[in-house]
Symmetry: C2
Subunit: 200 residues, 2 copies
């Protein structure tokens, strides 16, 4: 008799396997059989949940974003800069694979509108999480949030392309060099106080 | 009688066509026939110069980097921040296509060592060009150069994914928000003086 598996759990297992296999083989060369083997299921089970390769890619990105949101939420007690460390490729064992999914997704989302739309929604959500700490003027806070996101994206890209040159301490030093002066202007670097507090 | 074409000129024409076609179709879907049509040559002429699709991609990246280096060299009289505007997707009509080539290249270079090696060499050269203006301590200047590159990469990525949300003035505002505070610490923001001058 076949094992009963909760559909949500099965989706999560497949998405997590997709992250690892996209990171291992690249988006061009990853096969459904790789993902099936990593998820301990049949390729039929994968196509049952995900119709196309882009659906699998979207599920992988969803998994990556869920983990990022969880890390950002958990890090809200630390200083602003320490919280941002959680978004770097060195943050934990899975993060490097997750970054490779981001890069694969970017390369494809530029040409596939429905992927770009999902990406935009995730970035909006990340901005919303950051904006809450960045002051009273919503447009201004959103620009600062976009600057922080761009900093993380640029560093993550470099690290993915030259992992041997960017060990964890050098990733963090690069983040401090790039964002330290901006965060200092907001006075959230050490105190994590919202920006408008400094104007009071 | 067939026209005589200088081989270097033919390579450049094909590379320039590859940039436009990769930007138009995406790396997954671009065909040699697209590039041949855009370069007004046969697919045979392309395979004569470039053996594989990765060779064409490398030629496209080379073309993009040559243009970037030329823009950086030409911009050396302007302020540091104005010079960096030249690296944004809004800098001229071709720049947006060139950014899509970067993104396509990143997604693939993460998995193809010989592409990653070429990418690394280009980034080293960009860093070298920046480092000359960033102070006496070579390691420290290189970290600042890497921070500037990461800022540009992060902004370019965002703009490529959401072009309608990031018109030229907003791209520049994002660059100023992210890099203005860092450049101010170097005192090159307005004066373009090397960083060590401020310590004198």
């Amino acid at each position: 008799m076949p094992k009963r598996v909760d559909p949500d759990q099965r989706r999560t297992i497949i998405a997590e396997a997709a992250v690892r296999m996209i990171a291992a083989y690249g988006l061009d060369d990853v096969k459904l059989t790789h993902i099936a083997r990593a998820a301990h299921c049949t390729t039929g089970a994968i196509t049952h949940y995900f119709e196309t390769k882009d659906d699998v890619l979207l599920a992988a990105l969803e998994h990556v974003c869920d983990r990022l949101f969880a890390k950002m939420a958990a890090g809200s007690d630390a200083s602003a800069l320490m919280g941002l460390y959680e978004a770097l490729p060195c943050s934990d064992a899975e993060a490097f694979s997750e970054w490779k999914v981001w890069l694969a997704f970017w390369g494809r989302a530029t040409f596939v509108p429905r992927l770009a739309a999902v990406h935009r929604a995730y970035y909006r959500r990340i901005e919303d999480m950051l904006v809450a700490d960045l002051g009273d003027d919503p447009d201004d806070a959103r620009l600062t949030a976009a600057a922080i996101i761009a900093a993380i994206d640029g560093i993550g890209t470099r690290v993915c392309l030259e992992p041997d040159l960017w060990p964890a301490d050098r990733q963090r030093a690069l983040l401090v060099r790039l964002l330290g002066p901006l965060l200092a202007t907001l006075t959230i670097g050490e105190t994590h106080a919202p920006a408008h507090a400094s104007a009071a």
